[in-house]
């Protein structure tokens, strides 16, 4: 078991290296291959009408004249050993893990990531609780009342939920609940939990609901399908034949089995969300990792893109591992060796 975990973690590290190299290549190697020079790369980071001397200075400062593997090596080295940054009138030490300095804001990336993680974490955990509860309960009720008006209504609503994108439901939600009715906070009003829990809750309420709505819809459908399949299993008939009350049959025997495959999907969804709920954060202007990633890509800010990608990849890998371990606990047929 322990060796299994270690092996998986080592594989994760290798994967993270591959991901980082790929992102690096997309931002540096590809433009160089199609003809960009260090100077053309540097022009993205200087003002308009900058002189060739300025462009040259910046290309040097950002290390664009070095071969790509040297640049990549410098980045990797920073993660393990830290690095130095020249901010003009002196140098600043960026301790390990140093994901480099942003070309645009000239701030170290790592503190930014740590700063934004709680936002995404708050969003993801709150939404996950909501959708796990509402999605699963709706799915169960639908499955048990299959074909009823309730079932059809729930499935119609959830079809809408699955098919409507966040930037639609989110903006409509803001318009109606925030600007027209004034029940929820407007976009961009995030307050850290540690500062004011009430404001934190108020600001996240609508994002939670909007994000959870989409996932609930998906989970309701999955739960319903899983429940229907499970309720047709032989062991459910056995449970009834033992004289178990209907509720015990549905919950202890039916739901338990129906939820197991959902656990995998949940773990992956949650892991992905921790890497940044891009659309939700964008719509509600939440300063989380997803918004950070979008802004970084828009601004061509490679160190930020690399940092946030690493973070997201790490979450997905870890979520995967946890799901696998958890699966072994839930389903005794799965043996981890």
């Amino acid at each position: 078991m322990i060796t299994y975990i270690i092996r998986r973690l080592l594989a994760a590290v290798v994967l993270l290296f591959i991901v980082s190299a790929a992102v690096f290549a997309i931002f540096y190697l590809v433009p160089r291959v199609v003809g960009a020079t260090p100077e053309t790369l540097a022009t993205r980071y200087v003002g308009r009408a900058a002189t060739p001397e300025t462009v040259n200075l910046i290309a040097h400062k950002l290390g664009f004249y070095d071969p790509i593997w040297v640049q990549y090596g410098r980045w990797v080295k920073g993660i393990f050993l830290g690095s130095e940054y020249d901010y003009g009138s002196g140098t600043e030490h960026c301790p390990a893990p140093c994901f480099g300095y942003s070309f645009i804001t000239r701030q170290p990336v790592w503190p930014d990531l740590l700063d934004r993680l709680p936002v995404t974490l708050s969003l993801a955990v709150g939404a996950a609780l909501l959708w796990a509860f509402f999605g699963v309960s709706t799915g169960v009720i639908s499955a048990l009342r299959r074909g009823s008006l309730l079932d059809r209504a729930a499935m119609t609503v959830s079809l809408a939920g699955v098919s409507m994108p966040i930037f639609f439901t989110g903006l409509i939600g803001l318009l109606v609940f925030s600007y027209k009715l004034g029940w929820t906070a407007s976009g961009g009003s995030y307050t850290p939990f540690t500062e004011n829990p009430a404001d934190w809750f108020y600001a996240l309420l609508l994002p939670w609901i909007v994000l959870a709505f989409q996932f609930s819809a998906q989970y309701a459908r999955l739960t319903r399908a899983g429940m229907l399949e499970t309720l047709g299993e032989d062991y459910i008939r056995t449970a009834r034949a033992k004289g178990l009350p209907e509720s015990a049959v549905n919950v202890r025997h039916g739901l338990r089995a129906a939820l197991t495959p959902l656990l995998t999907i949940f773990g992956l969804d949650f892991g992905l969300l921790l890497g940044g709920a891009v659309l939700t954060e964008q719509v509600f202007s939440l300063p989380g990792l997803g918004k950070y990633a979008v802004d970084a890509i828009t601004n061509n800010d490679l160190p930020k893109v690399l940092g946030v990608t690493m973070m997201a990849a790490l979450f997905v890998v870890v979520a995967n591992l946890i799901v696998d371990l958890l699966y072994a606990v839930v389903d005794p047929r799965v043996r981890i060796s």
Binding site: A49, G88, S89, G90, Y179, S186, G188, D295, N300
Partner: protein, 584 residues
């Protein structure tokens, strides 16, 4: 170039003076009336909702990050407008609507610059009693230091580069961080604590505009942390930083060491300013319309989705203003690509182009702007209205004249060429398609060539060898003034000497030695009025050369803040004057 308009500083004391003189008025803000009725453009040329009431908080939002709060590096018009709340440059633009807002007025200095040698040396006297937020008095050395540090382009690569271009700096000078202890008196001298003298390499008649750049906002050397200074800028204005969370939000509170006695124009009505960064652009519009937010600080106008809602609703439209942007959307006609080496072929494009189609592609008169026929927009002093290539009564092009020009060019049946545009910009794509249609009427066949905007000028449309090799005969382009004056607007787009073989210049087509000579003559002229006439002549010359097909004088549709007082568009920035605002 980033889509947000960079610096639209306006100016031209001279023109403003001329205008007011013509009206027979004094130097008072006689042109600026006041208004309280909410109607379309109610805050364009007059003060909307005037009030002297103090207190309250103004809430602003920016759909992106602030370019930088450091006065030495900031290069966006909205930032220059906002910066006056916490920083005082030597000169600035008058806090006034209408033409008076284009006037330069002393801020940190006591008066405008003085020159005794026809514009090679400029002297400014500082006001007494102006203090930093910590209570220490501002000295001329602090201004000198601020200007010199902005020259360090390794540290501040995004800032304007005018000072290093004009100041008589020691050879190889790299700013106070790298070139420690170098005597720089040959560039800037400070004979006493309240006098600062700028020594230029060449005469520059419009130096007062440079004295109005935020780079002259004083920086105390002891508190300077170079690239990190933006984390805590030391204020000289009525407000200072309270909180500053880079990339997320910041707030300003009152600066106890600012005194209204040293400041002739800042009313400093509200108690606080709160700015959110990286806010969803559509959300900003919704919040402005609901009154949940006061100002979209970037000031470039509403999103396309909002535009439809506002235009269709008279009540909503009455809550908007539609100022000029001191920006021209145009098409470069590249003379190095055959057959555009022949002027008549360039003229054929001028005649054949559908100007109305160009305007429609940019969103029509409200969101796009007015149909253009010159290089300089009307907001630039020296602008003269003329149209060398009339495009017919409905502005859709003169096909007959275009065919004549083609015949004169020796291409009576037309020819084929390519048109470059930025792939990320739907408006440029629409423009390219419109031109494709209208030019096809005379046999000029265009092939659309989209390029990524990040490398548009450096690698493709602004890279002369690439342009020539790939027959990019037409290049979609656009330019906004650094400040509202001929030099601030024209120098980067019509001077052939800024074109570099390695790429990166915004001037994609104008190569005329006569134009270069005219520019040099105008720059050295200290007679403002004569200088303006020279800018106008340059505009005409470029149009005669037919190197530029003007498209649209850009306009923006701004949502007027509902709960604020003293709202007006300052023509120097083409957006609301952030220094004048108060809370109702």
């Amino acid at each position: 170039m980033i889509q947000r308009t960079r610096v639209l500083v306006a100016a031209t004391a001279a023109l403003a003076l001329g205008l007011t003189a013509a009206c027979g008025g004094g130097k008072d803000d006689s042109s600026s009336g006041s208004s309280a009725k909410a109607e379309f453009n109610a805050a364009l040329d007059k003060v909307f909702n005037p009030s002297e009431k103090k207190g309250g908080t103004i809430r602003l939002a920016n759909s992106g990050d602030w370019d930088t709060l450091d006065p030495g590096e900031t290069y966006y018009g909205y930032s220059w407008d906002f910066l006056r709340l916490y920083g005082r440059s030597l000169l600035t633009f008058k806090a006034s609507p209408g033409a008076a807002g284009n006037e330069l007025t002393p801020d940190l200095a006591e008066g405008l610059g003085e020159t005794n040698d026809n514009g090679k040396t400029w002297t400014y006297k500082l006001r007494k009693g102006v203090k930093f937020e910590d209570g220490t008095e501002v000295k001329s050395a602090d201004v000198k230091y601020a200007v010199l540090r902005s020259i360090d382009k390794a540290t501040f690569p995004n800032g304007p580069a005018y000072f290093e271009q004009f100041l008589n700096l020691p050879a190889g000078y790299k700013g106070p961080y790298k070139s420690k202890g170098v005597n720089t008196d040959q560039a800037i001298s400070t004979p006493d604590d309240s006098t600062i003298v700028f020594h230029l390499k060449q005469a520059f008649g419009g130096f007062d505009y440079m004295a109005a750049l935020p780079q002259t906002v004083p920086v105390p050397q002891a508190k300077d942390t170079a690239a990190k200074y933006k984390e805590h800028v030391v204020s000289t204005g009525p407000y200072m930083f309270d909180q500053n969370n880079l990339g997320k939000n910041f707030s300003l509170k009152r600066n106890p060491n600012w005194s209204a006695e040293t400041d002739p124009f800042r009313k400093a009505l509200p108690d606080r300013f709160e700015v959110s960064l990286n806010v969803n652009a559509d959300d900003i519009d919704n919040r402005l319309l609901s009154g949940d937010l006061d100002i979209d600080v970037v000031g470039t106008g509403v999103q396309p989705a909002t535009l439809g809602r506002v235009v269709g609703d008279p009540t909503a439209k009455a809550g908007t203003d539609n100022p000029n942007q001191s920006r021209l959307w145009y098409t470069s006609i590249v003379g190095t690509v055959k057959p555009f080496d022949n002027i008549d072929c360039r003229k054929a494009v001028q005649y054949a182009a559908d100007r109305t189609g160009y305007q429609t592609a940019y969103g029509g008169p409200l969101a796009g702007g007015d149909i253009a026929s010159t290089v300089m927009p009307p907001t630039i002093p020296g602008y003269q209205k003329f149209d060398l290539y009339p495009a017919g009564p409905d502005n859709t092009g003169d096909v007959a004249k275009a065919k004549e020009a083609l015949a004169a060019c020796g291409q009576p049946n037309g020819f084929s060429t390519n048109i470059a545009y930025r792939a990320e910009r739907p408006k440029e794509k629409a423009t390219a398609e419109s031109l494709q249609q209208s030019l096809a009427r005379v046999g000029i066949k265009l092939t659309l060539k989209p390029f990524p905007q990040g490398d548009y000028f450096s690698q493709y449309a602004g890279n002369p060898p690439y342009v020539k090799a790939n027959n990019l005969g037409l290049v979609l382009n656009g330019w906004g003034a650094d400040w509202n004056d001929g030099f601030g607007y024209l120098s980067q787009i019509v001077d052939s000497r800024v074109i570099r073989e390695t790429g990166g210049s915004s001037n994609a087509s104008v190569r005329d030695p006569d134009v270069d000579k005219l520019l040099d003559a105008a720059v050295g002229n200290t007679d403002a009025k004569a200088r303006e006439a020279q800018w106008g002549a340059i505009d005409k010359k470029v149009m005669e050369d037919a190197f530029i097909l003007p498209g649209v004088y850009a306009k923006a549709l701004l949502i007027r803040p509902k709960k604020l007082t003293n709202v007006y568009v300052n023509p120097a920035y083409n957006m609301y004057d952030y220094v004048a605002l108060g809370v109702a």
